[in-house]
Every structure is written in C-alpha cells, then in structure tokens.
C-alpha cells in the first residue's frame, strides 16, 4: 500500500508576536521581540517580572461570553488558534466530522482554573470548589472543547510531553492520518503558564532569564550571556490533511509534513543529554521517515531554549546529524528569542513558523544573539535579519523536561 501523505493547509497562531498567521509571520520575519515587563499584572511578587504575553489576543473575538468566563486561558488560546486555522484552510467541517480529529499539546492545561479552585478550597472549604474545576483544568480540555465547538468526531486527545508537546502532537496527528484513522487533523499546542505558581517553580529550577532590565533582549539563545528563557504563552494549530483529500477539495497547500521522529534521553529529569546523541536520534528518525538525505535540510528551527547546557547539546546534535560540513552551511534560527518559550505550544508555534519559512522562502532570525557562544558554533546562525532562501527541506526540533525529543521534517509543496 502506498504511504498516505500529509500536508499542511491552514495555520492559526496566537502568541506574543500577534494574532493570526499574517500578523505573526510579519513580526517573526522582522525580528520583533515579544519580551516585555509584566509588572503590575496579577503575578504579584513573582521573582521574575517579565514574559512574552499574548497581548493582542482578545478572548471575545473567538469565545462566547459564558465559556470565556468559565474556561481557562489555555482553552481560549486553543479556540482562537483553532478557528483561525480552520478559516486559513478554508475548511468547513461537513456532515458528522467523523474523519476529523484533534491533538493538542500542552504542558500543564488549565492552570488558572486549578489554582483558583485550590485557593478557594484552602480559604473557604472543600464544598466551595466549582463543578467546573476538573473539566476546565484538565490537560485534555483544550482539544475536547475545540472538538465540541467545531463538531470534530475523529481521534481527539492531548499530548503532554512538556516543551516537546506541540511537535509530538503534530507528528502523532500525521501518524493518525497515515494509518487511515482520519482525513483531517487539527494539530498543535496551547499553554498559558504565566502564573505566580509557574514563575516561582521555574525560577526555583534556575531556568528563567534574569536580564530584567532588558525584557525585549533577555531571550538570547546561543549567546554567551544567555541565562535562561522567558515564559511565553499562546497556541498554534495546523490543519493537516491527507494529500488527496486536500487536493480533492482544492485546498491551498502550504507544505508537506514529510517526517516525524521522537526519542528519549533516559538521562535526567531536568538536564538534557549533554552529548546531543538523544536529540540526534529523533532528528535522524524524522529525516529517515521523510526519505531525504540530511544534506537536503536547508533550515533548522532550533529548540534554542537559551539554557546554558541545552543550547550546546542541541548544536552538537545538529552537527552529528547533518555532518560537520553541511551543518556549517545550514541556516539555524531560534524563534524563541522573539516569542519566548511557549511550553506545550512552543513546538506547534515553531512548526508553524517553519512551515511558513518553507512556503515563503524566508527564514526568520534569532534575535539578541550578539556574541555567539563558542560552544554553539558549527552551524550558520541567522542573526537579526531574515534571510531569503529556497528550501528543499526544513527541520524543527524540540526537547522537553523528562527527556522527550521530537523532530519534524517539512518539505515544500510544488505539486509533486
């Protein structure tokens, strides 16, 4: 049997770079930082007072008033990105939606709802917890609500692999289509983790940047002075379709999801495998599934979390997989320098930006990379200014706490 092919036909994004595919892409290509002070918001005395909030997102544009009040911000983002993606794809869910499913990654689900209700219990008693405390905080609420709102009755689930969740959700969605369990999948990720609890918990782990005098310049992947990440928030949803289904309805194809690979570090709960071997396995598996040579990869959207140990490990992995010679001429950028680390959404946002790079022939830059760390050399960093390149294939990689690695290979659509 011929392998079923999976293409991207729609993109919806909500994050610190804007709302909607065009808005976000314009800002990404222009190298716009979303890092900002969040002092004076409801984060109280949090030790870090900066993040990459999705400031332009208006809940009422996407969510009815009652649901907006009850549901968590993580679900608001998912509904926003999901509706934008569907509109971008020009897709109408017809009939019973049996062939359309949804997998969304998330790091922690409905944090606001959970923290609020836990506070209520502590202060006013267990009998004052809202009946919606569980349904609106569970990690699977965003995909379930999107399925309910849009009438999707195919396979629907959440993917929870920390910071790799968005990529794993897209890869697994492609696998669902390939095995024939759906013709269309809404795939992506969502997270809303700019909360007092998570800022404090991340900071206790010493993973957040403290360049607080310069929020826009604080996220500095690969730079010698990097000291961690900025928490971002938002969602990205991609419409994935089986190729013949997409061409049959005359969809505008953005690119192909050619390969997906996943691996585990089996090393440490918080520190990445420093050799890069584990990440390299995920990248190789993705390249192998795509049926291309590593030398065809022209762009890598790196995880680039801005951590001391993570960034060099990732570059080491790229050098292993691409080979020293090809790695040196492969364009690499870490768009987290602009949109921050959006946790379970980040892989989806970065895959969306990679898809747009492949379709548009423009590579968004890494910003704030003033002095390259010698431990991160050996690839062609795209710094500050976007670059025009016709790509034959691009790779996007993510790694998550717990040792999850995911990689996707995207190839341009030329009616092949």
């Amino acid at each position: 049997m011929r392998r079923r092919r999976v293409v991207v036909t729609g993109i919806g994004i909500v994050c610190g770079l804007g709302v909607g595919r065009e808005d976000v892409w314009r800002n990404a290509v222009a190298g716009t930082p979303a890092g900002a002070s969040i002092a004076g918001t409801d984060i109280g005395d949090a030790p870090v007072q900066m993040a990459c909030p999705a400031r332009d997102f208006v809940v009422a544009d996407f969510v009815d008033r009652r649901l907006a009040r009850r549901a968590d911000r993580v679900t608001h983002f998912a509904l926003g990105a999901g509706r934008l993606a569907l509109a971008d794809a020009g897709l109408e869910i017809s009939g019973h939606g049996h062939d359309v499913g949804c997998i969304l990654g998330t790091g922690t689900g409905g944090n606001h709802v959970r923290d609020e209700n836990h506070t209520v219990m502590l202060q006013r008693g267990v009998d004052r917890i809202s009946p919606f405390a569980i349904p609106y905080s569970m990690c699977n609420h965003p995909p379930a609500e999107l399925a309910m709102q849009l009438g999707l009755r195919g396979p629907t689930m959440a993917m929870v692999t920390a910071c790799a969740a968005g990529s794993d959700a897209i890869g697994t969605s492609a696998a669902v289509i390939r095995r024939g369990d759906a013709e269309v999948m809404l795939a992506g990720g969502t997270d809303a983790m700019i909360t007092p609890l998570w800022i404090a918990a991340f900071d206790a782990m010493r993973v957040l940047s403290h360049h607080q005098q310069d929020p826009a310049g604080a996220a500095r992947p690969f730079d010698v002075s990097r000291d961690g990440f900025l928490i971002g928030e938002g969602a990205a949803v991609l419409v994935l379709e089986e190729l013949e289904y997409a061409t049959g309805r005359g969809a505008a194809i953005i690119c192909e999801i050619a390969g997906y690979g996943a691996s585990a570090d089996a090393f440490h709960i918080t520190d990445p495998d420093p050799t890069g071997r584990s990440q390299a396995r995920a990248m190789r598996a993705a390249i192998q599934e795509a049926g291309i040579a590593p030398s065809e990869i022209g762009y890598v959207n790196a995880h680039g979390g801005g951590s001391r140990s993570g960034d060099p490990a990732e570059v080491a992995a790229l050098r292993r997989v691409l080979g020293e010679a090809h790695a040196a001429e492969t364009a690499v950028s870490a768009t987290k320098s602009m949109h921050g680390h959006c946790m379970g959404a980040t892989g989806a946002i970065e895959t969306a930006l990679t898809a747009l790079a492949v379709a548009d022939g423009r590579i968004p830059p890494t910003i704030n990379l003033r002095e390259l760390d010698p431990a991160c050399t050996g690839v062609d960093h795209v710094i500050d200014t976007m670059r025009e390149v016709r790509l034959r294939a691009a790779l996007t990689t993510n790694s998550g706490l717990g040792g999850h690695n995911a990689a996707l290979v995207l190839t341009p659509w030329e009616g092949r």
Partner: protein, 418 residues
C-alpha cells in the same frame, strides 16, 4: 486472528499492576476473578470534610522495593506507581533491556499527574511565598513525568510520550504505543498509566463535578455499575503498565505472549464536557473502528471489559453503544464485566488496568465479575452481565474507556493460537 504480516502485529508480553486489587499480575487477577473489592475509607488524608470519603487505595505498596531512596524523594506518588508497575511488567515479560535501548520506548499516561506535589507546592506559594518553592516541584507535578521516570529508570531511549484524555488516557496510550511499533519507530513499548489522586483537592474537585458516589457507609458496595441504585464512581489509584512487542520479534525471543493487541479505535463525542452522548453513538463507532483496524470479525467478540463507572447516564449509554455497534442478538451473548466495581475508577490508569484484566481474561479464558449488581437497571439490560467469575471461551475481547471531554477509546484484544 488478523492475516497481517507479523511485523505489523503487536502482542502483549508482560503485565505490571500496582492496584487496589493487589500488587503484581497474579495477585490482582486472583482478586478480580474472586470478586474481592479493594474499597475502604480514605486513609491517605483526613476526608471528614469531604462529600466522598471512600476510595480504592493501593495497600501494602512500599516504593523502596522498586525505587532507591534518593530518586524517591523527587517522585510524586503517581510516578512511583508507574515506575513500580513498569518493573513488574518488565519482569513479567522476561524482558532484558539492552544498554542502548533505542528501539524501546514508552507511552505512560495519567489524568492529573502529581496531585499531592501540586497541592503542597501551591499551598507553599500562598502561605510562605514564591522563594520557598522546591526546585523539584515542577518536574514532580507535570503529567509527563511518570513517563520520564520510567524511561530513566529502565534506560528506554525510543519514542517517549504521554497522551492525555482524562479517564480514557491509558487506553489511548496503549493504542498509540502499538501504532509506534506498527509504523516501525520502536520494537518494544511500555504503555499504560498511573494515577494517585486520592488527595484533598483532587478528590474534592472531582466530587464537585457531581460524579462520585456518596455511599460512604458502605465502601465495598458503593461502586455498583449497571445497578439500579448506583450513584456515581468511587475513586481509585493505580499504576498499570503493559509490555507491547512487535509480534515476530516476541516470537523470536520466545516471549511469554499474553494476547494480541489487535485493534484500536478512537472517536470523539463532540457533545458535552462531562456527559456522554446519551445514545453512545460515538462509543459504538469506536468499537467498530477498533474491530475494523484489526480486520476482526465482530461476531468473534465474546467479552467486553466495560468502562462502566457507576454513573447514571454513563453506564446506560455504554450498553446502548454496544448494542448499536454489534446488534442486539450479538450483544445478548457477550459477557460484560465492569471491573470498576472491584478496583474503582483509577482515572488515567484505569484503562490500562482494565486492558490488563481483559488480556488476562483472554489468556485465561475466564471473566471477572461485576460485583454489587443486585438489581439490574433496565436501561442497562441487553448484554450478558457477568455476576460471578467464571470460565468463558473468548476469541476477541474489547476494553472500552471514555473520558470527560467526550474522548472514546476501544481496544480489541485477541487470543493468540498456539
């Protein structure tokens, strides 16, 4: 049995259970067949202010049997249950994991992750401030950490994930893990789930959703699926992990094959956030997709381990779904067991626990009972409810799981011929 290439077939070769029915496959299965309930008053915390004060707790679990003291301090109970269940599963399968286990992966799910750690950490934040939070709090809370710990403990370097669909989570985990093997990304997968939600907030919040039994004076009689007097589910906790292997490789190494994981169907209700679609139409479609995905004759279904949580709407819609999918005549002769009457609703672990019991039913050709089914609700009639553990010829068995949010998953588990 499906005619497909052995390389595309997936078998269950090991079962690890740390459950209210017992610790280890043999103990748990003996309790299930004998109809011994693991319910009792909550002992993990003082539940006197709670509406639901009963639960199915895991008794006699000493994590130090499985986990060294240093690692233990950084693990929520949910991860401890998973790591222990994985150890038992690996042992049961006689599996030797090579040093560079790139072809071994895991999908370990949960409903809520590290509940106890979350509650303690958030309380610390509120009462003592952000600078008093532990650096290991976040990794102990997040839902994927049971998978992470299992991978680290046993050196699994292949694909590693956690799919989450509330109460159907670990059935989706098993189905997706089987697909990882089928598409050639791994040869061996540890798959299942863990849950440790017998904690003040998680239990209080679940009760607030009005789905739990308040029959506090009769813990053993409280979980009563399909009974006319059922009034909701009773919370359980568990770690349940199965070893899945590519069939040709399992045969080659002489693995102790329990049963074939032959089919998987997943659908979504798109109906309501907590209520199932009342006619069970999407559940029915999940059953049919599970059978179709493994080229399985629907007439060969002899047993179903039902999701049946003991809620009013859920149990009735499930029986309707079975009848819709397989027809009234076929449904009448299917032996249906609701083992939640014995082990409670273990949320993200429940699907894997029930899938394990389903696989054991297939290999043992025997079915466990639904206990407390004293007066069958007429809305739940139309199948052969198993009231006493008994021998049963089983060709194909189904295991169903349905989660808040409308997620449906069904696995088809088949006997493997000699």
């Amino acid at each position: 049995m499906s005619p497909r290439d052995l390389r595309e077939r997936v078998v269950i070769t090991g079962i690890g259970l740390v459950s209210p029915l017992g610790i280890g496959r043999a103990d748990a299965w003996a309790s299930a067949l004998a109809g011994r309930s693991g319910a009792g008053p909550v002992t993990h915390f003082d539940a006197s202010d709670h509406g639901a004060k009963i639960a199915f707790e895991v008794k006699g679990f000493d994590p130090l049997t499985f986990i060294d003291r240093r690692a233990l301090r950084r693990m929520d109970r949910s991860s401890q249950l998973a790591v222990a269940a994985a150890a038992l599963a690996i042992e049961d399968a006689g599996l030797e994991i090579p040093p560079d286990a790139e072809r071994h992966g895991a999908v370990i799910s949960t409903g809520n992750g590290g509940n106890a750690t979350y509650e303690e950490t958030h309380r610390t934040l509120l009462e003592r401030g952000p600078d008093r939070i532990s650096p290991v709090a976040l990794p102990m809370i997040i839902c994927n950490m049971a998978a992470g710990h299992v991978s680290i403990a046993y050196g699994l370097k292949g694909p590693l994930s956690c799919v989450l669909t509330a109460c159907a989570s670990s059935l989706h985990a098993l189905g997706e893990a089987a697909d990882v093997i089928r598409r050639g990304q791994a040869d061996v997968m540890l798959a299942g789930g863990s849950e440790a939600a017998v904690t003040p907030y998680a239990m209080g919040a679940l009760d607030a959703s009005r789905a739990m039994s308040h029959r506090n004076d009769d813990p053993v009689g409280a979980s009563r699926p399909f009974d006319a007097e059922r009034d909701g589910f009773v919370l359980g906790e568990a770690g349940a992990i199965l070893v899945l292997e590519r069939m040709d490789l399992a045969v080659e190494r002489g693995a102790p094959i329990v049963a074939e994981l032959a089919g998987y169907g997943a659908t979504s209700d798109a109906h309501h956030i907590t209520e199932p679609q009342p006619e069970g139409s999407e559940q029915a479609r999940a059953i049919l997709r599970a059978l179709a995905s493994g080229d399985i004759d629907p007439g060969s279904v002899d047993h179903i381990n039902a999701h049946a949580t003991s809620t009013l709407v859920g149990d009735a819609s499930e029986v309707q779904g079975i009848i819709t999918a397989l027809g009234a005549r076929q449904a009448e002769r299917i032996a249906v067991s609701a083992t939640k009457s014995l082990h409670g609703h273990c949320l993200g672990a429940t699907g894997a626990l029930e899938a394990a019991l389903t696989a054991l039913a297939v290999t043992d050709q025997a079915v466990p009972p639904t206990i407390n089914l004293d007066h069958l609700d007429p809305a739940c009639a139309g199948v052969d409810h198993v009231l006493t553990g008994r021998e049963q010829a089983i060709r194909t068995a189904l295991c169903s799981g349905f989660g808040f949010g409308g997620h449906n998953a069904v696995l088809a588990i088949c006997a493997v011929g000699a």
